[in-house]
């Protein structure tokens, strides 16, 4: 039977197993919305702004490992989605974004709500398509899902003109698809893996450094097995938190600009660095010249272009992390050699000395609410088992430092692009995917206002997100940099005319709370968590002057960390 393009599109989504589509209607996608209306398999979540749709799909993807799906109209629908598409691209998140387009005959004529969606998204997608013929529609959707979810994942845009959704054709959804120019390497080169294992076994001061690639490869358990077998210290990047249990004694926490003292010092002094599914981002590496000066480096990554991009490595292995790590485990089991236990014991002594610095210490006797205290209490109250999304800034770093993630896919934040406004809509996607789970959105009074309209979406779909607003009346990270590097000239970083967040939450039909005393933090969090079916907006009035420590200033090495000013290291 022949179906319209719109019906074909919806059938494709169904056959792809899509649960939710996050979107916003408009002229160019009306046929698609009409087709969605006439079925129950694919559920549509109506957001209040297209940026919210992309972040929600992104949060859904990060928390499930499945692709997020977005549907927006042409023109402003597509341009509003750009920030979310770029966010997903920078963090390698699988998403398929369907953008409406004007009729094929009108393309290029500056038609109403026309924008060159393929052109405008090109630099921030893994790939994109313009479907000009209904005969290509189903196969293109299949290709889009295939590209988005395989290899190094990423967002794929499919631009669909209105007349294509109107025309009729036979529906056929291909089971498989082959693209002659696209063959992601899964298995690592055996010789290289052997070389890496040799190097790992001869290390005196080894260090394992892992990133988001471990999470996307589903390699947490194999990574954990290998790390425990070896007994080596491990650090995770911001994107990789949860890939190895943070509460385990071999975990040194996060590394990088606001990483722990022990993680960064161990990076600086290690002799063998085993980098897995991490991309040597500038916030991790600091000054390249000072990066791991004594180390031979093994790098496992599915994307060849990530290897030796910013830091030259000695043993590159292109392949899927889980495949490669499992192969490493096999070789380690076969090998008669064991790690150098004596050297390793000395190395751990040194690391424990660095740990003794207790770099995340903060003032627990303050009469003001310390943001770190809120996050520590959140961790305790939720017993470390919540999904935590965040926006961008100081609160993001504190959440990464103080919420100890023991499981992957639990920490959802915009690492690469650093998108303020990400947290709340991302939490919607997470909550929809995990209706019974506790989902906390850690945010600040500046970030939350960038997508605050989604409180309305949360109301519509009854999403009981717990918003943890660390309200210091500043764009905290901007203020921190201005304090450190611009002699305290706080240009435009003060949030004047803030709304009353309690009333705001209430006006959207949610529960609002304002917490001003440290002694109220825990009771308030417990009360909020007990309101299982309500969104609770918790406005924590925190210490305005608190900064994120420790810190490596831009252009410095891992060994040049600053603790808080009172406790500066020599």
């Amino acid at each position: 039977m022949e179906l319209t393009g719109a019906e074909i599109l919806v059938r494709c989504l169904k056959d792809e197993g899509v649960e939710y589509v996050f979107g916003y209607p408009g002229g160019a996608v009306l046929f698609i919305y009409d087709a969605l209306y006439q079925q129950d398999d694919v559920k549509h979540i109506l957001v209040r702004h297209e940026q919210g749709a992309t972040h929600a799909a992104d949060g859904y993807a990060r928390s499930t490992g499945k692709p997020g799906v977005v549907l927006v109209t042409s023109g402003p629908g597509a341009t509003n989605a750009i920030t979310g598409i770029a966010t997903a691209y920078m963090d390698s998140i699988p998403m398929v974004i369907i953008t409406g387009q004007v009729h094929t005959w009108a393309i290029g004529s500056d038609a109403f709500q026309e924008v060159d969606a393929v052109g405008i998204t090109r630099p921030c997608v893994k790939h994109n398509f313009l479907v000009k013929d209904i005969k290509d529609l189903a196969a293109t959707i299949k290709k889009a899902f295939y590209l988005a979810t395989t290899g190094r994942p990423g967002p794929v845009v499919v631009d669909v003109p209105k007349d294509v959704t109107m025309h009729r054709a036979e529906y056929f959804y291909p089971e498989e698809v082959a693209i002659r120019s696209y063959h992601p390497v899964m298995k690592g080169h055996p010789g290289q893996i052997k070389k890496a294992v040799d190097l790992m076994l001869t290390a005196k001061r080894p260090m394992i450094y892992t990133g988001g690639g471990v999470i996307w490869s589903g390699a947490s358990s194999s990574l954990t097995e290998m790390t425990r077998m070896l007994g080596y210290p491990i650090t995770n990047t911001l994107m990789g938190l949860g890939a190895y249990p943070a509460t385990d004694k071999q975990s040194l926490g996060m590394l990088g600009m606001h990483g722990t003292y022990e993680a960064n010092m161990a990076m600086h002094h290690c002799d063998v660095l085993i980098a897995i599914g991490a991309r040597f981002d500038d916030r991790v590496v600091g000054k390249v010249e000072y990066f791991c000066p004594e180390a031979e480096i093994v790098h496992v990554d599915i994307d060849p272009s990530s290897i030796s991009k910013s830091v030259k490595v000695d043993v590159p292995i292109v392949g899927d992390v889980d495949h490669v790590v499992k192969e490493m485990i096999r070789l380690l089991k076969e090998d008669k050699r064991t790690p150098d236990h004596e050297a390793l014991a000395q190395w751990w002594d040194q690391i424990n000395e660095w740990r003794g610095v207790n770099c995340l210490k903060y003032d627990r006797n303050s009469s003001l609410i310390k943001p770190q205290f809120v996050l520590e209490t959140l961790y305790n109250v939720t017993q470390g088992d919540a999904f935590v999304t965040s926006d961008v800034g100081q609160h993001q770093m504190w959440a990464a430092q103080f919420y100890k993630f023991d499981k992957p896919n639990r920490w959802i934040n915009s690492g690469g692009l650093g998108t303020m406004g990400f947290g709340l809509p991302a939490a919607m996607g997470v909550q929809l995917a995990h209706p019974d789970a506790t989902v906390a959105c850690v945010t600040g009074e500046a970030s939350i206002q960038m997508c605050i309209q989604e409180l309305s979406t949360c109301r519509q779909y009854g999403l009981p997100i717990k918003v943890i607003n660390l309200n210091n009346r500043y764009m905290g990270m901007v203020r921190q940099w201005q304090e450190f590097f611009y002699e305290g000239r706080y240009a435009m970083s003060y949030m004047e005319a803030l709304p009353d967040f309690v009333k705001l939450a209430e006006s959207y039909g949610h529960v609002g709370m304002k917490i001003e005393k440290p002694s109220d933090v825990e009771p308030a969090l417990r009360e909020a968590m007990s309101l299982k079916d309500r969104l609770v907006f918790m406005d924590f009035i925190t210490d305005q002057t608190e900064n994120v420590y420790p810190m490596i200033a831009q252009g410095k090495g891992h060994h040049e960390m600053h603790l808080s000013p009172e406790r500066e290291l020599a």
């Binding site: 393929v118 052109g119 060849p304 290897i307």
Partner: protein
């Protein structure tokens, strides 16, 4: 170092813009770029000349390979290869200069492909340096118009870039 990268790319609208966009987005330079369909109409052959350190060129080739539309590529400068560029050049050729220009064209093994009372249009093929040398020899005063194709290249011997 100058590198000549030969690319087989899907002959689809937008494929060229992906390559050009990659170069501008990552701050790589393109010295020249030629592209046309091959004997297989679904594929285009692109020859791209760029300059950069070994690390940069390694990144360029990796990033190009990452583009979904790129089917295959080689860096021709890694082995023996032949490069050619074609130039069409319109010269002021009146009076005494006419004979001298004709001789120059012969020396450079070019062809005069169009003639008027006052002009010659010359076709010349060779390496970029040869074309530069011809331009220098005729002198800028004589040149009315220059059209250069950009470099095309192919590996020497039996090595070939095909599917």
């Amino acid at each position: 170092m100058r590198h000549i990268i030969s690319i087989l790319i899907e002959n689809e609208s937008g494929a060229l813009s992906r390559v050009a966009g990659l170069f501008s987005a990552r701050g790589y330079n393109i010295e020249s770029l030629t592209v046309a369909p091959t004997e297989d109409p679904s594929l285009s052959r692109m020859t791209l000349v760029t300059r950069g350190s070994d690390e940069i060129v390694e990144q360029i080739t990796k990033q190009l390979n990452k583009l979904v539309d790129v089917v295959k590529l080689i860096d021709l400068t890694e082995g023996p290869h032949i490069e050619r560029e074609m130039m069409l050049i319109k010269l002021r050729a009146a009076g005494d200069a006419r004979e001298e220009l004709k001789r120059l064209v012969d020396i450079f093994r070019g062809h005069i492909i169009d003639v008027t009372i006052a002009t010659y249009t010359v076709e010349l093929t060779g390496t970029g340096e040869k074309l530069d040398a011809f331009i220098q020899a005729v002198g800028s005063a004589a040149i009315l118009e220059t059209v250069r194709s950009g470099v095309s290249g192919i590996a020497r011997g039996e090595k070939s870039l095909h599917l």
